[in-house]
């Protein structure tokens, strides 16, 4: 990432509302031109971060810089930043064209140029011909597009999107995700997207910041976040995951350890340095589990016997819930095998559960 320049930085920023801390010593670098997503459950402070960038809230401590310049004392209307609001916030007394032209008009852009840029923005969001419509005559998806056009027409350094797709239905949402990503590439504007939807975050972002309780949990590419979550919260928040509690028996080689999981010893990979007897979480995604129809424990393999307690057909995958005994339930998700049209489980069927060595992710138990 050294070739990228930092566009926006939070340096030890703190924010309090009525004496309750929302952010404490928060640090963040966002690079020029990236699609950056802030992901977290509601109330984690992600929207506050966005509002601090926009200038709607002021920091209690610390410095926010845009392009290297401190913006703490610069009011919202003078920051090179535009926002796509969660509820769109279209001006109800103006038509689509007037809404999009508003910012340009306020900054005194010549009329001819406004006309041209509004037309371009409407083309960008595929709403040409809707110029004279009033916001009340638009569907949710169309309002969304107008809100985006109204912001990008300003050519901001940073475009802030606050849960912008959450009000749309599933299909429209997926379509808008694609379009947003394409738009971001085309415009080269840095996008900061706030969401609580992990799927959305994974599919659109260059980098993701996972937040919880006002603290940055992990920053990384979608792949890093999904495959190497740095703690249990992230692992559970980003998609489904099975967590096995285990204890380190011995070190095999530099990144490989033998771990005891409820009497079964498994060889696992771990980038962290582990000591003997360290308690660890061994995490495996449902889609990484291998399930076999076996009545008995096969010799010479380390895995788990289980009983299928629930199965559900999702169209693409067969998801099952498997009881490993001692209160341990795991989830598996398997793609259908073309060669085996009868592939299915019956409830109470005995199965053998295992995974390919190295597909697990191991973290020390203390690191929560």
């Amino acid at each position: 990432m050294s070739d990228k320049s930092v566009l926006l930085a939070f340096n030890n920023v703190s924010k309090r509302f009525d004496s309750s801390d929302i952010l404490v010593d928060f640090n963040l670098d966002i690079y020029d031109g990236e699609f950056f997503t802030i992901l977290g459950p509601s109330g984690c402070g992600k929207t506050t971060v966005l509002r601090l960038i926009a200038g709607f809230e002021r920091t209690n401590d610390g410095v926010i810089t845009i392009d290297g310049k401190a913006v703490n004392d610069i009011p919202a209307e003078q920051r090179p930043v535009n926002t796509v609001f969660q509820s769109y916030a279209l001006f109800p007394h103006m038509n689509v064209e007037q809404n999009i032209a508003f910012g340009l008009k306020m900054t005194g852009v010549p009329k001819a140029e406004i006309q041209q840029r509004v037309t371009e923005a409407l083309e960008l969001v595929k709403l040409s011909g809707f110029e004279k419509r009033s916001p009340s005559q638009l569907s949710g998806g169309q309002k969304q597009r107008v809100a985006i056009a109204r912001a990008v027409v300003m050519r901001p350094r940073l475009l802030l999107l606050d849960e912008s797709l959450s009000a749309l239905d599933h299909k429209l949402r997926q379509q808008m995700q694609m379009e947003l990503k394409q738009m971001q590439r085309r415009l080269g504007i840095t996008f900061v997207y706030v969401t609580h939807d992990q799927e959305e975050a994974l599919s659109m972002s260059d980098r993701i910041l996972v937040m919880n309780n006002g603290q940055a949990q992990q920053i990384g590419t979608p792949r890093e976040i999904y495959e190497q979550p740095s703690n249990l919260f992230i692992a559970r928040f980003i998609g489904e995951i099975n967590v096995f509690d285990g204890t380190v028996i011995e070190k095999v080689n530099e990144f490989s350890y033998l771990v005891d999981i409820g009497g079964v010893s498994k060889k696992v990979r771990c980038d962290q340095r582990l000591q003997e007897n360290d308690p660890v979480h061994v995490m495996v995604r449902p889609e990484d589990l291998r399930i076999e129809y076996l009545e008995d424990k096969p010799q010479g393999r380390s895995g788990f016997m289980g009983i299928v307690v629930e199965r559900s057909y999702t169209g693409q995958t067969l998801d099952s819930l498997i009881d490993l005994g001692e209160g341990r339930m795991i989830q598996s998700s398997e793609f259908f095998n073309e060669d085996d049209p009868d592939f299915d489980y019956s409830i109470r069927q005995k199965v053998w559960v295992d995974w390919v060595e190295g597909w697990e992710h191991v973290i020390k138990k203390s690191a929560i």
């Binding site: 209307e77 509820s87 900054t107």
Partner: protein, 286 residues
């Protein structure tokens, strides 16, 4: 069986019929009679009352009344708009307390409060005593029995009627729209001009109407505080009934005033509809 619901409706309707419809009908009827010094109003039916309304002298009264009320309304708006804006910034609880504080003086009869203004504005009143004592003026200011005193009284009595609809308009205005305007580089002045004023216009118009219309009829304010020339339409009507005893003309004048007010309300209704259609203020987008 007479349900409670029906009972309430019947009671309300009878009350309205007796206290509103019948008197108005009587006024309307009277306006077409011929005046008579002994019997107040007699046959035959005539339009004389209405033709008198258009005499030059009454046109003058109408215009001066319009002028006084318009100035009072404008001052109410200039005071009420920032007041309502500030009030809308408070939390709902604080806002309600402040509203009660504002309404508190109005538990006293407005006639009594008008006399109180007389005491404040008089030659030896509060303001003159204060200014003389502070050495700012050498002679007492002549404030009472002027147009100024009438406007002062009208503003004082009618200001809450401006503030209330404005507050409800400000409450409806979502803070996100203001943030969106800031986000799109609108300065404080531009936000006022392009966002606040257009989006509170239903409140502005409603406030202006319910200040302006009653202002024209508040004869006692002009009686107590005004000079010989500060006449409101209400004074003309009152004089016709109580002094000149020309009831048909007084009635014709009243009916004319009602028609003017009705037309203004119609205008308001149309303007409101227009704004809503333009903006869809009450649709699901807010």
């Amino acid at each position: 069986m007479l349900s409670f619901r029906r009972l309430v409706i019947i009671l309300t309707l009878s009350w309205m019929a007796i206290m509103v419809v019948v008197p108005h009908f009587l006024v309307l009827l009277t306006s077409f009679f011929t005046p008579d010094s002994q019997h107040l109003a007699v046959w035959p039916l005539t339009l004389d009352g209405y033709s008198k309304v258009f005499q030059a002298i009454y046109i003058d009264v109408f215009l001066s009344s319009l002028w006084l009320s318009a100035i009072a309304t404008l001052i109410c708006l200039l005071l009420g708009f920032p007041f309502a804006f500030i009030l809308s910034k408070f939390s709902p609880t604080t806002r309600n307390i402040l509203l009660v504080v504002m309404m508190l003086p109005f538990w006293t009869n407005s006639l009594i409060r008008t006399y109180a203004i007389k005491i404040i504005l008089g030659k030896k009143g509060l303001i003159n005593t204060g200014l003389l004592g502070a050495g700012i003026i050498d002679e007492p200011l002549n404030m009472l029995y002027t147009d100024f005193a009438v406007i002062f009284g009208l503003v004082y009595i009618l200001l809450p009627f401006m503030v209330l609809p404005l507050i409800s308009s400000f409450e409806k205005l979502s803070s996100e729209l203001i943030e969106a305007a800031k986000d799109l580089r609108a300065s404080a002045w531009q936000r006022l001009r392009y966002i606040y004023i257009p989006l509170t216009s239903p409140g502005i118009v409603a406030g202006c109407l319910i200040v302006f219309l009653p202002a024209m009829g508040m004869f006692y304010v002009a009686d107590i505080l005004g000079g010989a020339t500060s006449l409101l339409l209400g004074n003309v009507i009152k004089n016709q009934f109580l002094v000149v005893r020309d009831w048909p003309f007084g009635s014709a004048f009243s009916v004319s005033l009602i028609i003017i007010m009705g037309l203004m309300l119609l205008l308001y209704y149309k303007a409101n509809r227009y704004v809503q259609r333009q903006g869809g203020l009450d649709d699901e987008s807010l």
